[in-house]
């Protein structure tokens, strides 16, 4: 099949889409454009090993020069898409001209929600390679940091700040921040984890103001507490990069709205993947948008299949999966744990730093799992998520693992 595919966004979604197209036998031209100048890089390390300095730029590369040449993928970096002209099948690249496409893949991701507070000097967001470099430079010279937002990224930044030996404070409006994803019982364990690592937590409190400048910042909390720090990191979520599509006529509503085949609603040759895509998930029966690495890769593979096999379209119905590394915890989550009805927690008597929480929905059916330092249990449970099981099934699998593991 020969035609021109244009992919907007050269992060994990866009790059994996280009590679999958070649693997699926696509012979037309593939152009990948990105507003950023850097060669394609991966984001998860930006709050972990790359921020701490243990991983260099070479370790976060998404694709080698050799692989780019072999797959004959053309990258146009430092080039932002500013407009989509559906009628003419082309995108506008600011003052750098236009680009024709037969098939378009939108992979423009999200950006960090900007800080609504006054101070800017010494106040960081974390989304890009440049963000991570500038935060690392400040961490190297600072003594203290306040992190606003205790989601995955905020918690990982706290862990890395402790690695630098900084006095670290973590603020979140929810009393148990991780409860929104994993329920109260597991959420409390994450608070204890921060405390064991000498992080001061201010949970259940909002931020009233952030004033001052680097080296002398003041964060005022809703109960009147005043925190002083050298730097502040604001991690309060993300917003889809869809403004460039405003005049396109595409349906935009908290992301680019797609059908179950990841085609933008009403268009058979325009697809969206990764963090920016909000698609109709056939198993959940509703529109979902997922900001997880594995989702971007799997959605890229699905769209590649659908572009190369137009007569045999695949629906996109993934099982959610995300990981996070915090201090000495390797956390893995699969399926739906956010709206679960209850959970069974299994601990390993030989390893106090290891547990699995297995969640059930209101009908008592198994719906999701969280594991800490237990990849073997995660994979057993993750495999079961594509089926329909009582919660006792994954529980028994994990119990069998425990029974089989030699006591130390």
């Amino acid at each position: 099949m020969s035609s021109d595919v244009v992919i907007v966004g050269a992060s994990v979604g866009g790059v994996r889409a280009a590679q999958s197209l070649r693997a699926d036998g696509f012979t037309g031209s593939i152009k990948v454009i990105d507003a950023e100048d850097h060669m394609p890089y991966d984001k998860p390390p930006l709050s972990k090993g790359f921020l701490s300095g243990s991983q260099g730029v070479d370790r976060i590369s998404l694709i080698s020069e050799k692989a780019i040449a072999e797959a004959n993928i053309e990258f146009l970096l430092g080039t932002a898409a500013t407009k989509l002209d559906v009628a003419e099948s082309r995108i506008v690249l600011g003052d750098k001209g236009t680009l024709h496409f037969d098939q378009l893949v939108i992979a423009t991701g999200v950006r960090a929600r900007p800080s609504p507070w006054e101070a800017t000097d010494g106040v960081h967001l974390l989304r890009s390679l440049d963000d991570a470099l500038s935060l690392r430079a400040d961490f190297e010279s600072a003594n203290s940091v306040v992190i606003v937002g205790a989601g995955f990224i905020g918690a990982e930044v706290a862990a890395t700040a402790r690695h630098f030996g900084l006095t670290t404070s973590l603020v979140d409006p929810l009393p148990i921040p991780m409860a929104r994803v994993m329920g109260d019982e597991v959420g409390i364990r994450f608070i204890e984890l921060h405390h064991r690592n000498q992080v001061q937590t201010y949970f259940g409190m909002g931020v009233e103001s952030i004033t001052g400048s680097k080296g002398n910042l003041k964060v005022e909390l809703s109960d009147g507490t005043l925190l002083s720090s050298d730097v502040v990191v604001v991690g309060i979520g993300a917003v889809p990069n869809d403004a460039w599509l405003d005049s396109s006529g595409l349906l935009i509503d908290n992301g680019v709205v797609c059908d179950e085949y990841c085609r933008v609603v009403g268009h058979s040759n325009i697809y969206a993947i990764g963090d920016v895509a909000r698609w109709h998930h056939p198993r959940h029966g509703k529109l979902v948008r997922v900001e997880h690495w594995t989702n971007a890769v799997e959605q890229a593979a699905c769209v590649s299949h659908n572009i190369t096999n137009p007569d045999e379209l695949h629906q996109y119905a993934p099982v959610e999966y995300v990981w996070s590394d915090q201090y000495d915890w390797k956390i893995q989550l699969a399926g739906i744990t956010a709206e679960a009805d209850g959970q069974v927690i299994l601990e390993d008597p030989n390893n106090p730093n290891r547990f699995a929480a297995i969640y059930n929905d209101s009908a008592g059916k198994y719906c999701g799992v969280v594991t800490v330092n237990w990849p073997r249990a995660l994979i057993e449970c993750r495999k079961l998520l594509s089926g329909d099981y009582e919660i006792s099934v994954p529980v028994q699998r994990v119990e069998a693992l425990l029974a089989a593991s030699p006591s130390r």
Binding site: A23, T294, A301, W323, W374, P375, R376, I379, S405
Partner: protein, 75 residues
Amino acid sequence: MVTILEGAIKLPIVKADLNLCQGYANCVMEAPEFFDIDDEGLVVILQEKFDEDKRAHVESAARSCPVSALRVEDE
């Protein structure tokens, strides 16, 4: 006889860098007939050599690894 034949047919092989592997197990989900993970959370390659017609499948599993720990090579 057998050795000559083995030398003549070059099969692709998949290798794992166990220093990089973090036990994310995306490879196991993609291609359970090729990969598993052990109790320590490290990938175990169940089948190192494979037929050419499986290449796309194994390469797809390699691309799903979050730390690029898997490589497909021609022997």
